[in-house]
């Protein structure tokens, strides 16, 4: 039975505990960042940030809306990144049979820069990043080291609002659908993002594109 994240963005307060805890668990260095007119920092996922809270704001009919999106790998049921990588290097990307975690291995080092770009561009959610220092492809690993020891992924463990949930796929799907039907009453646009295809299911109040906003525009 694959394991699944259920990410309820309507409970997220963008405290970024998940973003920081992810870094800390993986022992990653901090990037040197700059304030560029947004709270979203670092500006994008990178080799040292597998998890990033995205901020997007709008004024609609005189009302301010501010969306928070704790972005991460979706651990797809049929991961396109794996399909792409398999063409070049067998075992560069694996899908763990017990957890369903999609894992980038050391063998991604054997991918050429062009092949890495292929893998990245095949991801519908723009998640993989190149760690230029180590010469490998990287992304969220579902904290598989923790999950295999019956511990929650770090981002879920640290979440204090109930936005981040983790469990067996059936259980999370049930929770997601239940939350969706409650939310639909007040937000007709509410939706789950691709629940059939992914194991990081987002509950959104609006179209998925609206959760991504480039800085200065």
């Amino acid at each position: 039975m694959p394991m699944t994240f259920f990410i309820d963005t309507t409970r997220c307060t963008a405290c970024r505990g998940c973003q920081v805890a992810c870094k800390e668990w993986h022992g990653f260095q901090a990037n040197t960042t700059r304030q560029s007119g947004t709270h979203q920092n670092p500006p994008d996922l990178n080799a040292f940030n597998y998890k990033l809270v995205r901020f997007a704001e709008y004024k609609e009919n005189g009302r301010v809306v501010w969306y928070f999106f704790p972005d991460q790998c979706r651990h797809c049921e049929e991961p396109p990144c794996k399909e792409a990588a398999d063409k070049y290097v067998e075992g560069a990307i694996l899908r763990d049979s017990s957890t369903g975690a999609v894992i980038f291995t050391e063998k991604t080092r054997q991918l050429s820069p062009a092949q890495m770009k292929d893998v990245i561009s095949d991801c519908p959610y723009n998640i993989p990043r190149i760690d230029t220092g180590r010469g490998i492809l990287v992304k969220c690993d579902m904290c598989i080291d923790r999950v295999r020891h019956n511990m929650l992924p770090m981002c879920v463990k640290t979440c204090c609002s109930g936005a981040m949930n983790f469990g067996e796929r059936a259980e999370m799907l049930k929770l997601a659908n239940q939350k969706l039907s409650e939310l639909k009453k007040e937000c007709p646009n509410a939706q789950l993002q691709d629940p059939e295809d992914v194991n990081a299911i987002y509950l959104l109040t609006d179209d998925p594109e609206k959760y991504y906003q480039s800085v200065n525009g």
Partner: protein, 807 residues
């Protein structure tokens, strides 16, 4: 808090004003979300749309410094529509009390004002008393001099038009909030008020909170589940440190600091022990002498005897009428009147208002000892930008402190729960707990006194002092013990036995307690702050009450004034979320405010036991700037008049007098923009700790100023541009964050822009920017001298040259 964090989930309405709860209390905010899950409405009234607003049902932007008009309009709405809880108001508040002839209010000033002293004669505001000395009452509430009628008259001026005109809030938005909040006046409904520094840090800070208390009393929302006035404290342990008297005007347990005009213990007790002639009033502060004597015994031990006033004479005394609060301390320092001192875990060169003055004040010191984890703007003031270290005479000692995870101790959360935290790891290097520093320094000072016998050795040599710092032993002494074998109410206690709770403390020297409110936390059964037991009764479970988890002051009571949650016969107003109930001749649920039977019984008591009259204070003659909150503009305001009176600013507000203490004039065209300041999730307070935590600095790396698109357009500023924010007192570089989350206000027909800045950045972290507080003034509230960090006047322009920020 009158209530506690978990209790927020019981609220039908969560009213967040003067607080950015989601950002500054991110973990506790889950209880707000739980209230929302249960169908409660979350209202956020705040100048900017924040992460709190994003999770609220309603966000209403309000011009900073106009909380009193907003709330005054709500009082009028409640009274006009008679939404108040009538029985509660009549029986439990001072609504029916008759106010004496001395009280008057004209054009923004209460009676008794002395313009020269900028102070009132508060005696003018006293209640009319009957022959026994008890306030006269009119239970019909019709007497024009009764509190309810005076309240009505006072806020009748706060019409929707006027409130909207000065706050910049649309009438629709006002009504939307008033309607939802006003509906919680139904006896079985409750609303909680969550506030923080957004209310306190104004020249009317205390009155902002007073007014919220008035509203909560009118709606019957105090003492009940999901109600109360809830000051959000947090990681800095503001609750615990206030309880233990980190402020100058009190001793531990809210005992007033001794004054020069109370030379003896007898004088002190006489001045500070209120009396009542009303047998139904508990008048808890009537017990103050017991707490003071027990404190003196805790400090001076066997040397404290009845004959020597338990050593009261050894305590330092303040001069009456002199303000020793931090802005005045730094004013005296600036004027060369302070030679040296200790600063622990505090970064005034960055976090105090008017940082330029504070930094220049530090230059005047001969010596300074700083206890800190990291170097910060205070420890390193002598090498700040623009200063040559050779020109600074101060000798600075830096004492490395360990981090909280490296030491044992207690933290008291906002809900008054004293919770033990265990040391997680050993301190790094030679760092030590600050308690250790204080213990060791005192021992060395005492040795010097022993050797040389200074001018006044008694208080030093008689002080009971530990040989080594131990948090657990200290916690035990805070609770207190019997100082000799004694029999109280037929029960024998042995010398050294821990006192079970503060009703057992005595004024004859037979007990010691370093803080009476914590007496009960470490009784004979041990250190209760370590308890983590989730056992509860089904009744307690309904309202999220966990009496066996940690320990709450006072006497493990979780909801203060809970006797106001029941009717005169002890029946809960809201049976589904009862806090206490009188069943079969006893109270069940929470620990009630005293064991007396319900109020209807002959021996019943009033619920507001800390007030000498026993009633919730709609009318509050104890505040120095008026018995009713009245709107006054911030000391720096974009307007030149307001619709409620000709009195533009708080007539009692405080400000030091020096060449640097200057204010822009009202409506100053040079500084047309209102600036407000705040903290943010990623940095803790002044940022001294978190700027040195790389993953947090990565997330919030540099100082910014949030401005609206409209203001940005006016000033030709683009998102991400470096800009200069300027007030009469200083200039600060910041990155412009142009956002829809700030909206220009329409005030008196004109557009008023508001900008917002965090205060957590400082020059010791390279390239992040320097103190926002260089812009602020040291003007303060007259009751507690809290500075007005939340509103001043500035201007903004694009930066031509940038020196403080790495680009």
């Amino acid at each position: 808090m009158t209530n506690h964090w978990l209790d927020i989930k019981n609220a039908d309405g969560v009213f967040i004003m003067g607080s950015n709860a989601a950002e500054n209390h991110p973990i506790a905010f889950k209880w707000v979300l739980k209230a929302k899950d249960a169908g409660g409405t979350i209202i956020h009234v705040d100048p900017k749309f924040s992460r709190t607003s994003a999770r609220s049902d309603i966000h209403v932007p309000l011009r900073s410094g106009t909380d009193i008009p907003f709330l005054g309009g709500l009082v009028k709405y409640i009274l006009d529509k008679e939404l108040y809880q009538r029985e509660y108001v009549l029986e439990y508040t001072n609504a029916a009390f008759i106010v004496g002839e001395g009280y008057d209010f004209k054009d923004g000033l209460f009676s008794g004002y002395n313009a020269e002293k900028k102070a009132y004669d508060q005696k003018k505001w006293a209640f009319a008393l009957d022959e026994k000395g008890v306030p006269k009452r009119d239970r019909t509430l019709k007497n024009p001099r009764c509190v309810l009628q005076l309240l009505k008259k006072h806020y009748d001026r706060y019409t929707l038009d006027k409130v909207s005109d000065i706050t910049g809030v649309s009438k629709d938005d006002l009504l939307k909030v008033y309607q939802v909040y006003g509906a919680t006046g139904a006896p079985d409904k409750s609303a909680t008020v969550l506030y923080a520094l957004g209310w306190t840090q104004h020249t009317v800070g205390v009155q902002n909170i007073r007014l919220s208390a008035i509203i909560q009393l009118l709606l019957g929302n105090i003492g009940v589940a999901g109600g109360g006035i809830n000051a959000l404290r947090g990681e800095p342990n503001v609750q615990g440190s206030t309880d233990h008297a980190i402020l100058w005007h009190i001793l531990p347990g809210y005992l007033p600091v001794p004054r020069a005009d109370w030379p003896t213990l007898e004088d002190y007790q006489k001045a500070n022990t209120p009396k009542t002639s009303d047998p139904k009033s508990v008048n808890w502060w009537g017990n103050r002498p017991k707490y003071m004597v027990s404190l003196l015994k805790g400090w001076m031990g066997d040397a404290a005897t009845k004959e020597n006033g338990f050593g009261y004479g050894w305590l330092p005394k303040v001069d009456p009428g002199v303000d020793y609060a931090s802005i005045f301390l730094f004013d005296r320092m600036y004027k060369g009147q302070v030679r040296g001192g200790f600063i622990y875990a505090h970064n005034p060169a960055q976090s105090m208002p008017h940082s330029h003055k504070v930094r220049k004040a530090l230059d005047q010191l001969d010596w300074l000892a700083v206890g800190e984890i990291h170097h910060n703007e205070t420890s390193d003031f002598w090498r700040r930008p623009g200063v040559n270290p050779k020109d600074i005479k101060t000798e600075v000692f830096l004492m490395p402190s360990c981090q909280r995870g490296e030491k044992d101790g207690t933290v008291s959360n906002s809900g008054r729960w004293q919770m033990w935290h265990h040391k997680g790891v050993e301190p790094m290097g030679q760092s030590k707990p600050m308690g250790w520093m204080v213990v060791e320094i005192f021992k060395r000072v005492r040795d010097l006194y022993k050797k040389d016998m200074g001018v006044f050795p008694d208080p030093i040599l008689n002080m009971v002092w530990p040989e080594a710092y131990d948090a657990d032993i200290q916690a035990k002494k805070i609770n207190g013990c019997y100082t000799r074998d004694i029999t109280i109410k037929d029960k024998e206690y042995k010398k050294g036995d821990q006192v079970v709770s503060f009703p057992f403390l005595q004024d004859d020297g037979s007990t010691s307690s370093l803080n009476w409110v914590y007496c009960g936390s470490y009784g004979p059964s041990g250190n209760l702050s370590k308890r983590r037991d989730l056992k509860q009764t089904p009744m307690q479970a309904k309202v999220g009450l966990f009496p066996n988890f940690s320990w709450a002051w006072p006497v493990n009571r979780r909801v203060l004034y809970n006797r106001a949650s029941v009717d005169l016969n002890g029946k809960p107003y809201s049976p589904n979320k009862a806090v206490i109930a009188w069943e079969d001749g006893k109270w069940v649920g929470d620990v009630p405010d005293g064991p007396a039977p319900p109020m209807a019984a002959p021996e019943g008591k009033y619920p507001f036991i800390m007030q000498s009259e026993g009633h919730g204070a709609l009318y509050g003659p104890g505040r120095v700037d008026g018995p009713f909150p009245e709107h006054y503009e911030p000391a720096e305001t974009p307007v030149t008049s307001h619709p409620f009176s000709k009195q533009l600013n708080n007539p009692c507000m405080k400000m030091p007098v020096s060449d640097l203490d200057i204010l822009a004039k009202p409506g100053d065209p040079r500084f047309p923009i209102v600036l407000t300041t705040y903290g943010l999730t990623e940095h803790w307070c002044g940022g001294g700790d978190t700027r040195n935590t790389p993953a947090l600095l990565e997330a919030e790396p540099q100082l910014y100023v949030e401005i609206s698109h409209e203001l940005a357009k006016e000033k030709g500023i683009k998102n991400g541009d470096p800009v200069v924010v300027e007030s009469l007192r200083g200039k600060v570089e910041a990155i412009a964050m142009v956002t829809v989350r700030l909206t220009p206000f329409k005030v008196q027909g004109k557009t008023v822009h508001l900008a917002g800045m965090p205060f957590c950045f400082g020059w010791t972290t390279p390239g992040v920017g320097d103190a926002t507080n260089r812009l602020m003034s040291s003007v303060a509230d007259p009751n507690v001298t809290i500075p007005e960090y939340k509103a001043c006047l500035v201007n903004i322009h694009k930066a031509e040259k940038v020196t403080e920020l790495s680009l």
